[in-house]
Symmetry: none
Subunit: 196 residues, 4 copies
DNA sequence: GATGAATGAGAATTCATTCAT
DNA sequence: TATGAATGAATTCTCATTCAT
């Protein structure tokens, strides 16, 4: 990689990080492009060299962060032994809940912003789409006695993740209808029933 | 009510309707106070006699519309006979899904905007809070053999509504991961399992 | 006229004058809306209350100034006695040339900017259109022995004015191909021939 | 010419052509240096190796295109036999009008942009100046009985060309005060009178 | 010579909010 | 109460120009 290309990547990453920081700290509606570039230490015009506007940048950040979280959860999950796929999914979700509990700013950002859209939308990044599909396939497992088809499993998993995301947001950020520590057992229990 | 008071209420209602129309048509971020008052046929200053700003107005609209939907669903439900509360809840949810299917603009507005927040937040309208509590109590029923406590039922119902809202939004508006007609049986089946 | 309406008109006129001053002093490409409003002593937003952008304002100014000049020339002309319409037109043009010689900033502004467009375009101001038509009719006169039809006179007058405008601009501003005092006799002579 | 010099000239010509295309298509105020270099397939910096800025480039283009048109008109004219110089000038102008009728984009570009300035300005290209002077001299002819001095002929020709340019622009582009086919006989008639 | 990433001043425009009438 | 002209801070976005490679 040439010096110029290295610099380009550095600038883009600087804008990325600055934007993530600001989006989570003060909310996208209060962030301005000026804010971002000042924080990133680049000129205002440089922003428009890499991104169309602040909304397109936010979309990219959310997809990236969602993907990273799912991938991390999956990597932890795949090395463990489980009795069946239900156990595996529960562990997977449990890890996500714990991560969001520790990372409230990420939770705020993901919630109600494309959020898990990547899970069901044609993300233009082929690599991400491919890995997500693999992840789902692995999560499903290949046991003969699975209770549902892979298609239904996929759709059910989609619902589970949407539910998890909603419950986490309300219980962790607003503590409604109860704190996450009270809601988590209920949530996991509900998911277990869903997977029966 | 005097004629003047009637006029006052008329202006407020005009602003309300205009704002609902615009929020659903072009999205809250693209609506301006100017827009609203022009559509409502009142002066710009008049807006500030009735509302703090457009966000507070939107909050009120969402609470009102959510409440109306829940109340309508409940009123239909309460006159029917059901074998048990599970059946009753399923019917209740089924009605909400069908309503949202018919009313896409409402769905867009509710989603990602406080949404069912009224369900778990201290809405400043005492009347609404009271009616919602009654609704939940009625939905729960008073049978001895209910499988969960009323508290757990409340929290579970919260999850069910959040789930329903998410699934409706994605399947009706984006048709992801599948159209609502394909997703609905899956959703109702999942809810049945949750209520077991 | 109410106090408010009087104020409105005052503001609009202030913007008008400020813009005219700046357009003629530094050229439209170097004038900004900020410039204009600062000079006019009004807020930037006020500009957009009255004008779409600086180009639309310039168009209006040019039409107005062209009209004023033509009208002034006509008013001077109509009170004089002439042997025939040729003499009348020559006097009319002579007055315009002298005015432009005295008012170089106006000349710069008019030249190559819609300029005499008002003469041949549907100006949206009915009043101006009406007066211009009267002016042409009066200039033409009603003598039996006029050498050309009124339609041809109109088109010829259009050419004469375009020619005058061009010659004035080049000879007064750039002194090319010669100074106005050398060009004027030539120009008037040419116009006399045209009117034969 | 070395290969490198050939390449240099190729780049400059590419910028030239790209700029001409863009100036005529979208108007100089909407053309950016970025636009031009992208269209020309060269780097942005390369522009500044050959031209000071887009305005200086446009001046050069206009002078070149005006010159080409006059030269073409002259070359066609000079091979024909005419009774006197009036006939010659009429033929010359007639050719220009027809060319502009066929080439509306050129007409738009020339009009209100220095236009025939080359005709009266010290163009920095000696060669062009020399050829234009020859052209005027040839047009004037050498007959003893010419009605005006060569100096007056030069100035009159200047006026005729300015008039022609104005009339063409308004009648061809805006069809005001009438279409070119209606205006042309009037214009040529006027020019004949001017040359008497 | 050629490149194109980076710059940053500055232009256009919007819009919530105020306040005199 | 109701009005709507006026405000001006705030924001987005552009683009000519530079300069290290």
């Amino acid at each position: 990689m040439s010096k110029i290309d290295g610099n380009k990547e550095k600038k883009e990453r600087a804008i990325y990080s600055a934007a993530y920081k600001l989006f989570t700290e003060i909310g996208i509606n209060n962030v301005t492009v000026s804010n971002i570039t000042k924080q990133a230490g680049v000129a205002k015009g440089t922003f428009y060299l890499y991104f169309k506007d602040k909304y397109s940048l936010m979309d990219k950040i959310i997809v990236k962060k969602s993907f990273e979280l799912l991938l991390e959860a999956y990597n932890i999950t795949k090395d463990k032994e489980f009795y069946d796929y239900n156990e595996r999914v529960i562990f997977f979700i449990d890890f996500i809940v714990d991560s969001l509990k520790e990372n409230r700013v990420l939770l705020k950002l993901l919630h109600k912003n494309l959020s898990w859209g990547m899970f069901n939308q044609a993300v233009d990044n082929k690599m991400i789409t491919k890995i997500i599909n693999e992840l789902i396939h692995e999560l499903y497992g290949d046991k003969i006695d699975n209770k549902m088809s892979e298609l239904n499993f996929y759709r059910t998993l989609f619902m589970i993740i949407e539910l998890t995301s909603s419950v986490c947001y309300h219980s962790i950020i607003e503590e409604k209808p109860a704190k996450i520590d009270e809601m988590k057992p209920l949530l996991l229990n509900v998911i277990k029933k869903i997977l029966l």
